[in-house]
């Protein structure tokens, strides 16, 4: 067919830079391996949406190259675009249309549109065929956008803040659908979010962007197993080799130190109890450290 089997990475971003008046993306580098879920995290305004726009060729980059499904992202051929399902924040649909209308429209845009699959998802997600989108809740709009993205034999899903503003039950439903999607090893998901808990649930890899730069891009397992938090007295900090230290948080009664290379640290500093960390905590500590030195 298209040679998707031969591709290793669904998305490759190389040294991408983009300057705006008061914001820049600087030397963005990361890859999304095929068959995985990449969680793209960062605070609001960090550059997630800008990066995604660059991937989708909605904006032109000043430097760097991007490959999507093995091809240059600039002027992606239509047949490749037809395999990419995109969901922005779900409200890109016209108020006076309904699901039936969308089906009719998409049938005439996507050569690989599957009406049966679309109707299946409508049913599964409890979305009415005839109700116009003006009467849709935010959650319903999101679900519909996702239904569309899944109904044209997509190999790659790109979702920008697709779960923001949704209640936990719907979020869980949607995450389940993503996990179902990724059962096929030729399918890939890039999911950006500032809701870290969603990312922690399903991501295989996590890329963290902060103020337009990539801070890290690693497998979720590596992040969690290699980082740890110790709680100690403020004086103790002096005795810790700073090369282990990711960040420090002091309070009135002591300090929390986040360390990496957890196994090596544990061998050297057996007096400290090292606790597990969440991705969210890693991000917070990393940002603090950066800001200490900026």
């Amino acid at each position: 067919m298209m040679g998707i089997e031969r591709i290793t990475n669904a998305i490759e971003i190389n040294n991408v830079t983009k300057h705006y008046k008061d914001f820049s993306l600087n030397q963005i580098n990361f890859t999304v391996p095929k068959g995985t879920i990449m969680g793209f995290v960062g605070e609001n305004g960090a550059g997630k949406t800008t990066t995604i726009k660059a991937i989708l060729d909605l904006i032109h980059t000043d430097e760097g190259t991007i490959n999507v499904l093995g091809r240059d992202s600039k002027n992606l051929p239509k047949d490749i675009k037809a395999q990419i399902g995109v969901v922005f924040d779900g409200s890109n649909l016209h108020d006076n249309m309904n699901a039936k209308n969308i089906n009719f429209i998409m049938k005439n845009i996507y050569p690989n549109w599957e009406e049966k699959v679309f109707n299946h998802y409508l049913k599964k997600l409890n979305l009415p065929q005839d109700k116009i989108f003006k009467g849709y809740s935010r959650g319903m709009k999101m679900k519909l956008s996702i239904a569309i993205a899944l109904s044209h034999q997509s190999k790659l899903l790109i979702l920008d803040e697709a779960t923001s503003g949704l209640d936990p039950i719907i979020r869980d439903e949607i995450l389940d659908i993503f996990m179902e999607f990724i059962q096929n090893e030729n399918h890939t998901i890039l999911l950006s979010s500032h809701i870290i808990s969603d990312i922690e649930k399903i991501a295989d890899y996590v890329t963290f962007i902060h103020k337009g730069r990539i801070v890290f891009s690693k497998s979720k397992d590596d992040l969690i197993y290699q980082h740890g938090i110790i709680r100690c007295r403020k004086n103790d900090i002096r005795n810790i080799d700073s090369s282990f230290v990711v960040g420090i948080r002091e309070n009135g009664f002591g300090a929390e130190v986040m360390i990496h290379s957890k196994e090596r640290f544990k061998r050297i500093y057996q007096q400290f109890e090292v606790e597990k960390v969440s991705i969210e905590e890693i991000m917070l500590f990393v940002v603090r450290r950066k800001e200490m030195f900026e």
Binding site: T36, M179, E180, I182, Q183, A203, D204, S219, K220, D221
Partner: protein, 124 residues
């Protein structure tokens, strides 16, 4: 096949999976030639990353407990007695480490500890 993972355990999840599958193989619950769930299916059921299950399966294969046929899946390997024995030694060491830590914390000396071990072993 039951695999139970704990997020609060000290052990990384891939290790928890590896240990449980090894135990099932040693105990005979999983027979040689049995087909294991795919990495992706397991990841989905346990709601964890496919990289985690892949790592678990890679480790199991490296240690000789399973083998993978491309396009078909992973199967339980014939019990290799060396590996089984190694695994059993590892489990025992783990338990004894805990006993030793407790003994040290409680001020129990080495010969006292050895005495306890001898009594318990000969009891059964």
């Amino acid at each position: 096949m039951d695999i139970i993972i704990s997020n609060s355990s000290d052990k990384p999840i891939y290790e928890q999976i590896t240990i449980q599958i090894k135990q099932m193989i040693i105990s005979g619950e999983l027979q040689a030639g049995d087909l294991l769930p795919s990495m992706r299916a397991l990841a989905k059921e346990l709601r964890i990353s496919v990289i985690t299950t892949k790592r678990a399966y890679d480790d199991l294969e490296r240690d000789g407990f399973i083998y993978t046929v491309v396009g078909k899946g992973s199967y339980v390997a014939k019990k290799n007695m060396d590996f089984v024995r190694e695994e059993q030694f590892r489990l025992v060491e783990e338990h004894i480490s805990k006993a030793v830590a407790e003994a040290k914390a409680g001020g129990i000396k080495l010969d006292e500890l050895q005495e306890i071990m001898k009594l318990i072993y000969e009891e059964e």
